[in-house]
């Protein structure tokens, strides 16, 4: 493995600044909750289904918001009603949805009885999630660990059943991770759609049914060829923790789950996003799901050389947010990308330097490396070559997950054959350069090493500034990706609530305890 020569102190400093940025938000993470966090609690209590387009968890939480009772948490109210009425959580929720039950009008039941009801539900669901985690671990024991770099491909037909066919074909070609692309419109939906998607645009919705359908397909093909195939989707947007919970239940293995992406690139309120990512990452940590972050977005928005330090800074912030939710480094797929303008002289040296810096900062993380997209032109032959260079850097720098570039990037969502060609490209390059880096060293006074040091210095300075002024102010000033976001702007703020003294989230409590968090 090639090594950069970087003063360890510099890395420690940068990490300390990132830690300061994240810990200064403790007041928010501990004292507030959100509508989607409360809907997640209900889903984990076993409440599902929808009336028309509206999921029942939304109806119950909206009811509690209207009654100004959400501050106590949704768990208590439903459990109290369960004890009073002698019904299941789903039956209680159905009663609310039918307009027959006012949860706040039900007399308070004996505390022990309410707690007992909650304990039972918590136990049931957490056991179910643990069983899924065990299934994954057993499958890896049986079939071996995931390849490194893993081959990650997307399916995006908009029809989950077509997606299954394409995913299975990709697995037979050699794919290790299948990402089901989510319909572009979902991030701004303040609910999780219900049922299977057969007509989606730019992807399918992340729904529990879609998760189940794809999981089944991948398990089938995996059993057949002797590999445990990882499934990934997106826990992001206004229903982030609900999607994480569904993923935990349906045994997804990887989740896109960035701390700041929604704020910057989807204009979701910052308090809302940070709260939601905190709980969703905790669920992912509990379920042994690997998270991935979206630093590539900084480079599609800004120049990849000039703003390389924003990637580094975001990586370190994402790391700290992940740590406080209980995610271990080996499940932290911190992101970056190959997005430098290919007409720049020595662009490969820059890319190598940046990728090596990411690996140096986060040596134990399965880094997720994103392919060239911004300079893909429709010239499929040139894009195919760019992807080959991208694959070479991944192999040389020990990336964890290689999101395969498609030669038809900028033209259409991948065709069956595009994916096969991408896999062939990666397999060829990985194999051809397998031990290449055992033979070479990075010159201490050479461009690659100097460049990595420069980026880290810039990131350090940037993080110090953000730590000083606070993350919210830095975002308001447009420090990240030149996008300005204010503390009380963006979507979803009205779904943020201060917890009252009696607030209780049984799942978060149990997860914190089992993950040894504070």
């Amino acid at each position: 493995m090639i090594q950069l020569s970087i003063d360890k102190k510099k890395i420690e400093n940068a990490r300390a600044h990132a830690k300061e940025i994240v810990t200064s938000l403790d007041w928010l993470l501990q004292d507030y909750t959100s509508s989607t966090i409360e809907r997640t609690v209900l889903r984990l209590m076993g409440i599902d289904n929808a009336i028309g387009e509206t999921p029942i968890p939304n109806i119950v939480v909206d009811h509690l918001i209207e009654k100004k009772a959400i501050e106590r948490g949704s768990a208590y109210w439903v459990a109290n009603a369960m004890v009073a009425e002698g019904k299941s959580a789903q039956e209680i929720a159905n009663g609310v949805a039918a307009g027959e039950l006012d949860l706040t009008a039900i007399p308070a039941q004996a505390n022990e009885a309410v707690m007992k009801a909650l304990d039972e539900l918590t136990e049931t669901m957490l056991n179910k999630i643990k069983a899924q985690t065990k299934y994954r671990e057993d499958a890896h024991k049986k079939f071996g660990p995931r390849k490194k770099p893993s081959l990650y491909v997307i399916v995006a037909t908009g029809n989950i059943y077509d997606d299954v066919v394409q995913a299975k074909a990709a697995v037979r070609e050699g794919a290790d991770i299948i990402a089901v692309i989510r319909s572009t419109a979902q991030s701004l939906l303040d609910y999780v759609p219900y049922g299977a998607t057969t007509v989606g645009f730019g992807g399918t919705f992340a729904t529990q049914e879609n998760f189940r359908i794809m999981r089944k397909g991948l398990d089938e093909v995996g059993e057949e060829i002797g590999k445990y195939v990882h499934l990934t989707n997106y826990a992001s947007g206004l229903a982030m923790p609900e999607i994480a919970a569904m993923g935990a239940i349906e045994r997804l293995d990887v989740m896109l789950n960035d701390a700041m992406y929604g704020i910057l690139f989807r204009d979701i309120n910052m308090k809302r996003t940070l709260l939601d990512q905190y709980f969703s990452r905790m669920i992912n940590a509990y379920a042994g799901i690997e998270i991935q972050t979206g630093e590539d977005n900084y480079l599609t928005t800004s120049d990849a050389i000039e703003k390389a330090y924003t990637v580094t800074a975001s990586q370190l912030i994402n790391e700290q947010f992940a740590l406080i939710s209980g995610i271990k480094h080996e499940k932290m797929g911190i992101g970056h990308a190959f997005e430098i303008n290919p007409t720049i002289e020595n662009s490969f040296n820059y890319e190598l330097s940046h990728a090596l810096l990411a690996k140096t900062l986060l040596p134990n993380c399965p880094l997720k490396y994103m392919p060239p997209t911004k300079f893909a032109t429709g010239n499929i032959f040139r894009t195919h070559l760019l992807n080959g260079m991208f694959n070479m850097i991944s192999q040389m720098t020990g990336q964890g997950v290689q999101l395969l570039g498609m030669m038809t990037e900028a033209i259409h969502t991948p065709h069956l054959v595009d994916r096969a060609i991408a896999i062939e490209n990666a397999e060829y390059v990985f194999n051809a350069t397998k031990n290449f880096t055992d033979e070479i060293e990075i010159k201490k006074d050479g461009f690659i090493n100097k460049r990595a040091n420069t980026v880290l210095d810039e990131a350090n300075e940037f993080l110090a500034g953000v730590a000083q002024k606070g993350l919210f102010n830095a975002m308001a000033e447009g420090e990240f990706a030149d996008i300005k976001r204010t503390e009380d702007g963006g979507k979803g703020l009205k779904g943020v609530f201060k917890k009252d003294a009696n607030y209780f989230n049984p799942f978060m409590e149990r997860m914190k305890a089992e993950l040894n968090l504070n």
Binding site: A169, E173, S187, L188, S302, K374, D482
Partner: protein
């Protein structure tokens, strides 16, 4: 001796004039064997091609096979009769556009850009509008002659038109990246119909862009111009400048 090309009868060119040689790559739900190969040949043959050579095939799994082929076509095209609608204004660089607007229009033009409706991909609108621009061409935000606002992604047609009214916009610039099941056509149509219903269609210049958009399609959909793959901020800015200078 030199080869003589007859522009009224051109044909694909491989390595010899009029050989009609073309390259194909496609997959079929057919097995990766001689039977599948024959099926691939028949597909090309039914397309009217001959001298068909399936030079490569590979099993893609799930019953699909990828074929790469070469074949000859006999069709010819008369280049002299082809007329396409394209943006015909000359392209100026940023400085030239700024000077041109100052001299010929004499005021700042307000441009509002957005990636509309369900589309969440800002890469196109950002490339044209962001200060930094794309591939060494600054975006419209950098131009002194424009008051440019990039509303980002997932902006509804309602929001876009409301903002245009609020800022008394001169130009609306719409990007559509997602094209699956022709969603871009539906979104672009929705915006233009709404603008017509609100009686503002002719008060502003409506421009659109994206990987599957060209000028001809844009005109057909009721827009003033369309910019496809390979368009830069300079193309859009020059079009705007000439259009407003002419209008004046």
């Amino acid at each position: 001796m030199s080869i003589i090309i007859d522009p009224t009868k051109i044909k694909p060119y491989g390595d010899t004039l009029d050989d009609g040689r073309m390259q194909f790559s496609f997959s079929l739900p057919a097995p990766a064997n001689e039977q599948g190969k024959e099926a691939a040949k028949i597909v090309l043959s039914k397309m009217g091609l001959d001298e068909i050579e399936i030079c490569y095939y590979k099993d893609l799994g799930e019953g699909f096979t990828h074929f790469i082929a070469y074949a000859n076509t006999s069709v010819t095209v008369d280049l002299t009769t082809i007329k396409v609608k394209t943006v015909e204004t000359p392209v100026m660089d940023m400085k030239e556009t700024e000077e041109f607007v100052e001299n010929n229009i004499g005021r700042t033009l307000t441009v509002i850009g957005a990636c509309i409706e369900s589309d969440a991909h800002t890469v196109g609108i950002d490339a044209i509008m962001n200060m930094k621009g794309y591939d060494h061409r600054y975006g419209l935000e950098r131009y002194k002659c424009f008051n440019a606002l990039n509303m980002g992604a997932q902006v509804t047609s309602e929001e876009l038109l409301a903002k245009a009214a609020e800022l008394d916009a001169d130009i609306i610039l719409v990007s559509q990246i997602v094209t699956q099941k022709d969603i871009h056509i539906k979104n672009l149509t929705r915006l233009i119909e709404m603008a017509e219903a609100e009686g503002v269609r002719d008060k502003m210049l409506f421009l659109c862009g994206g990987p599957r958009i060209n000028h001809e399609l844009a005109i057909e959909l009721g827009y003033d111009a369309g910019f496809g793959t390979g368009s830069y901020a300079t193309d859009v800015a020059s079009f705007i400048a000439f259009h407003y200078a002419e209008k004046k």
